[in-house]
Point group: D2
Chain length 347, copies 4
């Protein structure tokens, strides 16, 4: 079925994508087209059951002829890897049924991101049904948790906002320079709201419109705290654009670190990272320079008694589908950039 | 020449607009079309000299036949009011030549906004050439400086960002509740960059792109400090949309004020203001609800130990052309909403 | 309830708007804010029943406190005029119940636009339930049917595409210069798809996307034929913008009419029209110059053996809500531009 | 300098890109990052001379460290292939100086697209300075001129509009089914206007704006006539989006060809083409499905007595940079899809 790479099909891992018609699921399918070691063998979508990919996502020309199936845990037979790109609160109910095989799973929803069932209930409003499995998932902020991922079978892929924030704060956090609450003002493109039919996601509602939402209450705060252990005030906003997150973060600077001091901390921590670019005062990290790529662009500005950090990613790629593949690459021992070499479109 | 209101022309004040082809100048012309007491008698533009309005701004059908002239101080003969919508650093050089008549002037540039020539030089890089006149201009945050405006001949119209921030912080400032530095993360539409030809203002550069700029260094900080006397860290951003500013402001809440406490402070201060809407937790103030109007929508959110204030305006109207007319209305004793009744388009 | 015009409430006609939360309904409410002779007394919306206007359409500050009711024919008691901004196929079922009073009705749906029940069934797929009433509605292309409207009680407001096309072709049609099939390539902003939740109306689906739809099969063809009696091939497209239609029309020019010949025909026919602007080769009529206004901008280009006509309107105003008010103004004997003086925003 | 492919550098062809900071030049650089047989050795830009790529195009991370040089004909020493992405009217003046080596050249400007110097002068207003060389360039509509390209040293890459139109009409033209003038209504994203600073290219001018331009007078008409020999009326428009062209083409159908007849003609002609997708009535070809890819999506609709053909491409890729690489692949004997495998982003 998968046309372009048919000749080497036998040697590739066979992947299934659940939720393949959502924005994240589509991007997993798209990125895997250039992956040297993974083929797409099954696409699952409840609402598009029986349709062909060409009818729903005509840009996915490499899998035009595949037919969407309804997923159930038995569907994984014959698959080597599974991407779960479903809404939050689904996988914790069936994940136990997948245990016992060699199937590698990357769950892009929040079900297994948090270690504390009580925190999960606070943020998601439901009782976790697979508390025993929570510890078996590695939280996949690749740059931070690479070692644990290298031996993991299951990965909980982080939220898009959380990824932009964690990459933006990690060097200062690691260096012990975050001593008070960080103000985070984050801006996301509309794909962040998903492909479901909501009034606020309509073109004419979102176009030309800028607003905050969920101020101080967003679920990704929990993931940030889980991995960094720092205190944040998180304020997300919706920006009229398809892709991209820019997180603007403001920290106190009690030690009086200089611009160079802070840049040096970042450059040292990220010096071998293929997907992270560090900028100083001469360039403002922006969403256009990363959209379409798995990159994260970070700008540091030390001004007066504050440190400002700006972190830009493509929310669907480094913030979701791309990091999921990056995590799987680590889990499988592949070159970490496999399938993720695409540059940003630029415009 | 001015078609629609010809019959009552004799009784109207005669206005000239300098810089009439810029985004702000265009909007002054547009708004004055519905003003009951002001007619447009002259439009000035150096680069469009000799062209007719219909050729440059075909939507300004009420003044289609007017011809752009080059402005010089002698041009004001016969005019009653003058709007200066020029770049910063122009009017301080010729303003002295306009003194001595009854001409009322609203300067939309920064030349006379600040009271201290040293601060002016710090932010604008030039020596002020009319220090004596600085004190004759009233800084026109209408809701704050209405009394002074009512007897003023000259008005310095504030910056767009400054207007959104000052309206958003004034009630807490007045109540003495701002005790530490306020973090301000502001987002502006691209009209904020003006109509001059800059790479970053091109459609394809700005579309889908979100970035910060001038972090901690923007000139409007000086105006905010001038009128509120509070300390801020100001971080502006460019958002892919034509009109609108949303300023997100984050304050410490050492007294533990409740949501109701803070809302009450705002509702009391602004209870008689025709252009200000206050919202609580149920609605996020956004740019779409104000774009096209002179309104300012403010949302208060008290969360944990922080107070978040979101203030939305149309940068070209309440942030510029609209407030200029509002200020002139006060200066002339007109009903303050004259010419400013238009609702936001909504979308 | 209606704040701004309370003092003169007694002398105004009392209006109800059915479907007041749709894009067209919202714009009727918005435009009526500046109407000197009509007040808004009732807003009807099934899905927003019980909500206040401020909660659904916060930009409609003049009617913030009104509450949406569910419409039924008995609701019209006490109203003088009724705007029906409902989906197609609703009003023909209940319209008979409204007959017998002095209530003036402008129906913005298609139910009473066509004179032939068979054509109605062809295009809308249902049997018309009020064939007797079809003849009582005047099809409200104001510039063409003004005389009939002046004595009408009921008006069928035309479709948005049909309005742009009919205004663009009427002078040539009237002059007998259309002798073969006209190719019409029309482009509409996304508000043309309405406010209902459809995948294609999502921001991320429509943004950056341009496509044709309903080629040669669109319902508005029937209205064009009804009023002009010319043969057209109508090809609509969706353009990534909120408001606006540009219809590009291509005609044979067997008589070899010159640019001046054709411009003269248009200028003569429309010389007294307040809402129509005619341009020649020097300016391309565009959607930005009309969006927010009730204007129609038309450009003529005679090239080689073809005549090209470009007609731009705001689909929600001249294409819907604005023309509805214009029609009602004629029906009521008001000045035709009442409530419609707003200029286009320009950008 | 070129980081990613350093190890295989010796075996790759060495490419130079002239005009590397324009939209087309940027996209050539971007696409070559994944080309297995070509490395980027030199980037030329007059206005960015001395700057590094990271400062101008930070998304081109594979060549971040390259420095822009000013191009002159001597600069080609050591290069194997040269892409000329300059404004029209430059290369015809210096091209003769490049003759005599093995350097392969793809010129993306119009200088060598036309075979008749008189037609060149009519459309470009200048006398051609290298008439002798005109015949040495193969016009690179790859799907039509593949054989000639396979032995060519010089390629004139077609215009973006021309590419969308020629691919859309070629099967009917080849089958002799085009017997009268074709009406072509084309819509382009704003990158089509290039990266130079023009008022109409500003974000706020283009956003929400739709208009025609150059009706019946556009230069690409000449290229269409050159290769297809059919008569067209070409009417281009500017659409508010970055990338993409949709050309809507309307033809008479005197033979009464059915939907199936026409689809069959297209499917037969394009059955082995890797970059062309044919759709019938069930899907409307659109710009989102091709943007970011080298694909062309074509939809056929036969309605009444007309045939409508809709052809969608990414104007910067299949319409420019991508087809340039595709042409070079043919000229070099590489697999034709090399460097062009990227799928459309989808959104």
């Amino acid at each position: 079925v998968q046309k372009q790479h048919a000749s080497s099909h036998e040697t590739k891992l066979r992947a299934g994508i659940v939720g393949a018609t959502g924005y994240t699921g589509q991007d997993i399918c798209r990125l895997l087209a250039s992956h040297p070691h993974i083929s797409i063998d099954a696409v699952f979508s409840r609402q598009s059951e029986g349709a062909q990919v060409v009818d729903v996502s005509p840009h996915l020309t490499h899998i035009s002829d595949l037919t969407y199936q309804v997923f159930n845990p038995a569907s994984v037979s014959g698959l080597d890897v599974l991407f779960l790109a479903m809404p939050h609160g689904k996988s914790h109910a069936f994940m136990a049924e997948l245990v016992g095989s060699n199937l590698k799973v990357v769950d892009l929803a929040a079900d297994f991101r948090l270690s504390d069932p009580a925190v999960f209930k606070t943020y998601y409003g439901i009782d976790h049904q697979n508390i025993d499995l929570m510890g078996d998932f590695v939280l996949g902020f690749t740059e931070l948790t690479r070692d644990a991922l290298s031996t993991a079978q299951y990965c909980a892929n982080p939220g898009c906002y959380a990824t932009s924030v964690v990459l933006g704060l990690y060097p200062l956090s690691k260096a012990g320079k975050i001593t008070s609450k960080v103000i985070i003002d984050a801006k996301s493109g509309v794909t962040g709201s998903g492909r479901s039919l909501k009034l606020g996601s309509l073109y004419c509602e979102a176009n030309g419109n800028f607003s905050a939402y969920s101020t101080g209450r967003h679920r990704h705060q929990a993931e940030i705290a889980e991995v960094l252990g720092v205190s944040t005030f998180f304020s997300p906003h919706l920006s009229p654009m398809n892709r991209g997150i820019l997180s603007s973060m403001y920290l106190d600077n009690p030690e009086g670190l200089s611009q160079t001091d802070v840049e040096d901390i970042y450059r040292e921590v990220y010096k071998d990272e293929p997907f992270i670019q560090i900028f100083g005062e001469s360039h403002n990290a922006n969403t256009a320079q990363v959209a379409g790529s798995n990159n994260c662009a970070i700008t540091i500005k030390v001004v007066d008694d504050k440190i400002a950090v700006f972190s830009a990613i493509d929310n669907l790629i480094k913030g979701s589908a791309g990091q999921a593949i990056q995590n799987l690459n680590v889990m499988c021992g592949f070159i970490e950039t496999s399938g993720l070499e695409a540059l940003a479109l630029g415009l």
